[in-house]
Structure formats: structure tokens, C-alpha cells
Amino acid sequence: MINEVRRNRNLVTDENGDARITAGFVVAGGITFILLAVILFTDLPPIGPDEGELAPNLQGKVHYLGATDWVDFDLYEETDSSWDAESDPEAKWFFIQFMDTDCGYCWEEAEPMTQLESAFGDRVTFISVALSLDIPSHSATKEEVIAFQEKSSLMECKGGDTDCSSRPGDPHNWAYFDDLSQATLDPWGVQGTPFVVIVKPDGIVAWNQAAHSGEEVGNALYSMLPQVGE
């Protein structure tokens, strides 16, 4: 008698559990299939700073030489995912330099950058990503970045006590990307400055300085660019 009451009570408590279990399995199975299908269907290359990976996006504000404002920039809007070297050898590559206006090495690198841009500027888009590393006496501001780029007078460069107008090289007539918040450090694997990554027109990393210790960046760039007119 007691067992029968308990069995009836269990039936009431367990009312229609099968419906929810079935619905749960159907929905879980369906969503698993959908997620797998979407991920496989949109076969994106892995995103990262290593060679062969899709370069992480640079999305933010840039400053151009002589401009009064910082303007929006999106690296992926500049790349062409369908680029083919044979059919379009003249498409522009990207030379992305990570730098810090308070870094002595970046200060010295300013002149070679000028020379590289004058040599390759018609085939390569130069971008300097301005960081402010967490190092004592490194505290760059937007004004300092502009002064460094334009070689204008501001007593804040190279550790905070040097006039930006005295830096080597000419004023840099390419985009300076504002990353004083260091948002690009992790995605791009930046360990120190200056640091260079060369990106193909389709956004794929072609050369990462960290993987080519001692190699001269100008030679690397020259050897990688498709030969035009051959």
C-alpha cells in the first residue's frame, strides 16, 4: 500500500520529464551542429603575430603628418583578403613598427625608418604604433607622439628630457597609431620596442622580427616584395 502511494506520488512528481529531456537533447544537438557548421564554414586563418597567421587588427585613431586631428583607422579595411601576388604584385604591403617615443632605440631607429619609407613608400604602407611601455620615465602622451612624428619642439621625448625636434631623421609622413593604452601588446606579442612586423596585402603576417634575430629589416622587405614588371 505504502509502495503504491509512493509510486503514484513519484509519477506525479516526475510528470512529463521525458518531454523536457527530449527537447533538451534536440536543442543541444541542433545547436552543436550549427556552431560546428558555422565555425567550419567560415574557415578563418588563425589570428596572431606569427608568420602565416592573420595579423591582429589595428583599430583606433591615427595621426598623419601635419594633420590637426586623429582619425579613425582599421587595418582590416585596408587589407584585401582575396589578394593574389601574381595577379596584383603592386598591391601595397604593410610595415608595422611598434615604438615608444621615450625609448632610446626607437629614437635611433627614427632615421632608418625615414630611409626605409623613402625607399619603399610607394609599395609599402608604413604604420608606427605608438606605445607607452610600463618602464620608469616612459610616459608618452598624444602630444609627445605628434611632436616625435613631426619633429616639433617638445621637451618630453627619449625619457622625458629631450627635445623631440632633435630626433634623427626627417618628419615621418606616415600614420602614427595611438596605442598608449597598450591594447596591441598582447595580440601582437610585443616584447619590447622597436619591433617590426611586415604584413602582406591580404593581412597575413609575412615577417616577424622576433623570428629573425639579427636580420636587417630593409633586406627582408626587399626580398619579400613581389618583383614588378618581370
Partner: protein
């Protein structure tokens, strides 16, 4: 518009439309045509449950397509929309096509929402006489309402805030319609369950 996207648009639109019309008496013969003869004489609530599942399926299909386009657009272009079309203009901006205060893509968000709604609707469809069906219907209405608000926000974003606004993305409009239809269906089903007409024709 690219062929595959046009087909998806047509399929999802028809499915959502079927969901919206399932309550009407004139659709009874349609259930027989679709191989669901037992629903022809079933209570309106049972047909509406199937209609709700249909609008959820249509919304899910549209959401999947939106997410695929969004994922392709990560690299700057998509093969599923012409570069000058409304859908490319609306969905190519990654930062504008995520849920506010998070980085969840709109497409993925709606897939998850329709999954939950699908579970609720399917549970009741499989066991319409369950004593707690009203609770599930109430949850469906609430979740459908939240999802509809987000879909409205997405539409406003496309009309006013993306770079090439106003950008009219047809598949996103179907997604919004699927959300509205699903929410309304849950609302009507809840009303039917509450006023005692759940089992009447």
C-alpha cells in the same frame, strides 16, 4: 545579393511568415499539406506551438547566416553579400555588431536566444498538458521580449550608427521579424493557457 543569401532569406522569411499565420483558421488546411493532418482539427494552441517552432527555426536560420557573414567580415570582406549591398554595409563593422557591454556577436547571441526559446516551445509541444506549461510560456515571452529589444537595437544601429548608415540588411530585418513573431506567439499562447482556451478549438 548573393544567391545563397537570397535562398536563405526566402526560406527564413517563409518560415517566419508561416509561424505568424499559424493561428489563423485559414491555415488549417496548410497543416494537412505539410503532413501534419492531426493538427488540422487540433486546438488553435497546438497549431500556434508549431507556428512558434517555425518562427524560431526561421529566426535561427537568419541568425546563423548573420553570424557567418559577421565571422567572414572579420577579415574585411564577405562572400555572402555584395560589397555595396546593405547587408555588407550593416554587418561589416565588427564593433557596431556586438551586444552592448560585451563582445558577443549579434548573430551568436540570437542563435543562443533562439535555442533557449526552441527548448521552451518544443517542451510544451511535446507535452502540452504539462501542469507547468504556463511557467515555460511566461519565460518564453520574457526571453522573446529581451531578444526583440536587442534585435530592435541592432536595427537602429544599422539605420543610424554604422559607417554607411542607413544600411538596410534584409536578413537582419527577417531576424527582427522572427523575434517579434516569436514573442507575440508566446504571449498569445500564455493568454490562451491562462483564460482556459488552451484545449479548445
Amino acid at each position: 545579393m548573393v544567391m545563397s543569401t537570397s535562398v536563405v532569406l526566402l526560406l527564413s522569411s517563409l518560415t517566419v511568415l508561416f509561424g505568424a499565420m499559424s493561428r489563423m483558421e485559414s491555415t488549417r488546411p496548410l497543416f494537412s499539406t505539410l503532413g501534419m493532418s492531426d493538427l488540422v482539427s487540433a486546438p488553435a494552441s497546438r497549431r500556434m506551438l508549431v507556428g512558434t517552432l517555425a518562427s524560431i527555426s526561421g529566426g535561427m536560420l537568419a541568425a546563423v547566416w548573420v553570424w557567418v557573414i559577421q565571422r567572414q567580415s572579420i577579415i574585411g570582406s564577405t562572400t555572402l553579400c555584395d560589397s555595396t549591398s546593405g547587408c555588407a554595409q550593416a554587418l561589416s563593422n565588427q564593433t557596431m555588431n556586438t551586444l552592448p557591454f560585451s563582445n558577443l556577436d549579434f548573430g551568436l547571441f540570437f542563435i543562443l536566444m533562439f535555442s533557449v526559446l526552441g527548448f521552451l516551445a518544443l517542451s510544451i509541444h511535446l507535452e502540452p498538458t504539462w501542469s507547468k506549461a504556463g511557467g515555460f510560456l511566461s519565460w518564453g515571452r520574457t526571453i522573446g521580449g529581451i531578444s526583440t529589444l536587442i534585435a530592435l537595437w541592432m536595427t537602429i544601429t544599422h539605420l543610424l550608427m554604422v559607417d554607411d548608415s542607413p544600411a538596410i540588411c534584409p536578413i537582419c530585418i527577417v531576424l527582427l521579424a522572427a523575434n517579434i513573431v516569436t514573442m507575440m506567439q508566446f504571449n498569445l499562447l500564455l493568454a490562451s493557457h491562462s483564460d482556459g482556451s488552451w484545449n479548445s478549438n
